[in-house]
Every structure is written in structure tokens, then in C-alpha cells.
Symmetry: C2
Subunit: 171 residues, 2 copies
DNA sequence: GGCATAATACTCGGATAAAGCCTGTCCGAGTTACGTCGG
DNA sequence: CCGACGTAACTCGGACAGGCTTTATCCGAGTATTATGCC
């Protein structure tokens, strides 16, 4: 059982974007720089989040990414499913039918009990992930993390975010 | 998120071995034949189960595999961990430290909140897997599955199991 | 001086190679059962 | 007839290639900004 490396980056990016002012955006290059990962590769995952309607992307010089809805309505499950895909972790290959004894298909009408048990467990996993809201992650970070780390993150966001409405961009 | 293909085979094998008489064994070739998978490859996973003290292996002409303890004390979590490894699905790469701003190590003394949240969800998953006992899987199969499938499975077990007359020598 | 226009620079997006893990296969070491020989 | 021995066959165990998903990278399409020329 192994999750993609990109899930971690996607969650960190979403948490960072939750800290930008409403309406402002942050380019993918800034997010990649903050975490020291490849910009081109991070775009792949950010694109997946955009396709899942979790992020919004704006092109152009003042463009970038921002959350498509408030952080209270974004759960870790949404991000994981967007990056990893909606398929369950356990995929029943129906090996019970692969034996030498060939039974009619009607004998396998009911789903495999092992598959059902694994899906029950996975449902609990997804429920736990759905309970973890992005806003809670951010709040917990702001209160529990080291003040120096929080200050550095806020400074980075304030420096690299791009406000949308004001026409004048100084730089 | 994706589990190994071998997990399904391992669980099916364990469920089959739960149906053999106490003390009797079944060779890996018979298990592979029952599910139509490669015998040599199945041995890899059966070996992992043996290393995890879930199965016992007896060499020799009348040898094979059997459960190391009653099915009531074997959970799906034990099998999954044996095949997939004990590492959690989400492995924190500490990308929060990869940015250009270098803070002293003391600023990262507390664990990453995102990692903590993911591990909380995974703990729920493992708890759900631990609640699924192998004996329950077998009981559910015997009562709910199609009678033809149950009859075929029992016939296969009775035909291919190897009773162990003398007290076995543990490996 | 104001407005339309064209060049510009920055952004995202998809298509393209390389690496790592999982899958699949092979052959060798070890052990037990059986047949045979000797007592 | 009984016991011990040697042979043999069957088993598991670890080491060796191939396929596929994941990771990483590059270049092209699109758009708001900006400077310029015209009115």
C-alpha cells in the first residue's frame, strides 16, 4: 500500500493556497519553489486538482492558482481522490473464478466476500479522510507549529501572492 | 492509492487454508492451481506470510502450508501488513523543509500536521482491517455464497490437503 | 491627451523520456518418504 | 522379521529478467500586461 509522492505536495499546496487572501492567486512556480520540488512536475498534480474543481487556474502574467471554494468545504479525501484517482485501493481480480473448476456465471452472482470486507475497511478510511477539513489543517498549523515556521510561511505567501482586482502590480 | 495484486491472492489462500483440517497442510502448487495464478509467484507472497508468523511451512513430500494460529486470531490487517510491509501508505517527505528559507532544525521539532492527519485516517483504516477476522470471512462465505461454489471449494480442499500423521516439526 | 493596436512576457496545459517498483519466472538447497539391503 | 541406510522425489527459499505505473522534464498554446503609434 503506497500513496503517490504527489499527494503530499498537493496537500501542502492546498494548505498554502488556503492562506492567500480571497481572490488572490499564486503561480505554480512559487509553490514549487516553496517546497523545493520540480515546477514542471508539480503542475501535473495542480492540474489534477483543477480538473477536480478543487483549484482554479487563471492564465496570464498575473495568473496562478487559488482555491475554488472555501477551505471549510475541502477535505483531504477530495485531494487524495483527485491525485490518486477515484478507484479503490483494493481491486478484486475475481481470482476465485480462475481455478480449473468452471462453474456457471450464476454461481458468482454475489460479490466476493473478501472484496466486500476490504471495501468496508476502505470506506472507513475515506470517511476519516473526509472528516479532515483543510481549514482544520491550517488552524492546527497556525496554533501548534513553531512560530518561526508560521512567520516564514506567511511572509512567503504575502510576498508571492498576486492580487487580482487591483490593476497595478508593482515589481 | 493502490494495493498489490498479491494481497488478494494472499487473503484467498489464507481463507482456503482456514478450511483445511487442523494440522493438515496444502502445498503452494495446489493453492496456485485453485486460483489460476503462477505457482512460483504465489510462493513469494506465501513466503511473506510465513515470515510474518501467519502461516507455517513444512518441507518434504507431504509438506505444504497451514495457518500458524486459529483463524479467529488472524485479521486482514495482519495479511495486508505482511504482504505490503509495515510502512504507512502516506510517507511524509518533509517537503516543508525543502524551501529556500532555511530554518534551524528546532523549528521542525513538532511533526508535520498534514502527516499527523493522514496517519490518523490510516489508523482508522487499519483498525477497520483489524476488525475483519479471517474466521468471519470464512463463516460469511459458507453461509452467503452460492452452494455450488462452496461445494467446489470444499471438494478441492479435501482432495488436495495432506494430513500430517506425526506431530509436526516446527520450522 | 486619450484610445486602439500590436508586441511581449508570463502563465498554464499536454505530450514526451527515464527511473523505480511490482509482476512474473527460473533454478538451487533442504527435508521427508520410500525402497532396499543387511542383520 | 526388523532395523538402518541410501536413493529419490517433492517441497520451499532466494536470486534473476520484463512490464507497467510513477516520476521527472521539455516545449507549445493562450492571455493579460505594456509600450507605441495614431487620432
Amino acid at each position: 500500500m503506497r500513496l503517490s509522492e504527489g499527494v503530499e505536495a498537493a496537500i501542502h499546496c492546498a494548505a498554502t493556497l488556503a492562506g492567500v487572501d480571497g481572490g488572490a492567486t499564486m503561480p505554480g512556480s512559487a509553490l514549487a519553489e516553496q517546497f523545493g520540488v520540480s515546477p514542471s512536475y508539480l503542475l501535473k498534480h495542480l492540474n489534477a486538482l483543477t480538473a477536480a474543481r478543487i483549484l482554479e487556474s487563471l492564465p496570464g502574467p498575473a495568473g496562478g492558482y487559488r482555491l475554488a471554494r472555501p477551505a471549510e468545504r475541502i477535505s483531504l479525501l477530495d485531494i487524495v481522490l483527485a491525485v490518486e484517482g477515484p478507484q479503490p485501493a483494493f481491486r478484486c481480480g475475481e481470482i476465485r473464478q480462475g481455478g480449473p473448476v468452471k462453474l456457471p456465471a450464476s454461481a458468482y452472482a454475489k460479490p466476493c466476500g473478501i472484496n466486500a470486507a476490504m471495501l468496508r475497511a476502505e470506506r472507513a478510511y475515506r470517511a476519516a479522510l473526509a472528516a479532515e477539513k483543510l481549514s482544520d489543517i491550517v488552524s492546527e498549523y497556525l496554533t501548534d507549529a513553531d512560530p518561526r515556521s508560521v512567520a516564514a510561511s506567511c511572509a512567503f505567501i504575502a510576498q508571492r501572492q498576486r492580487p487580482q482586482k487591483p490593476p497595478s502590480t508593482k515589481r
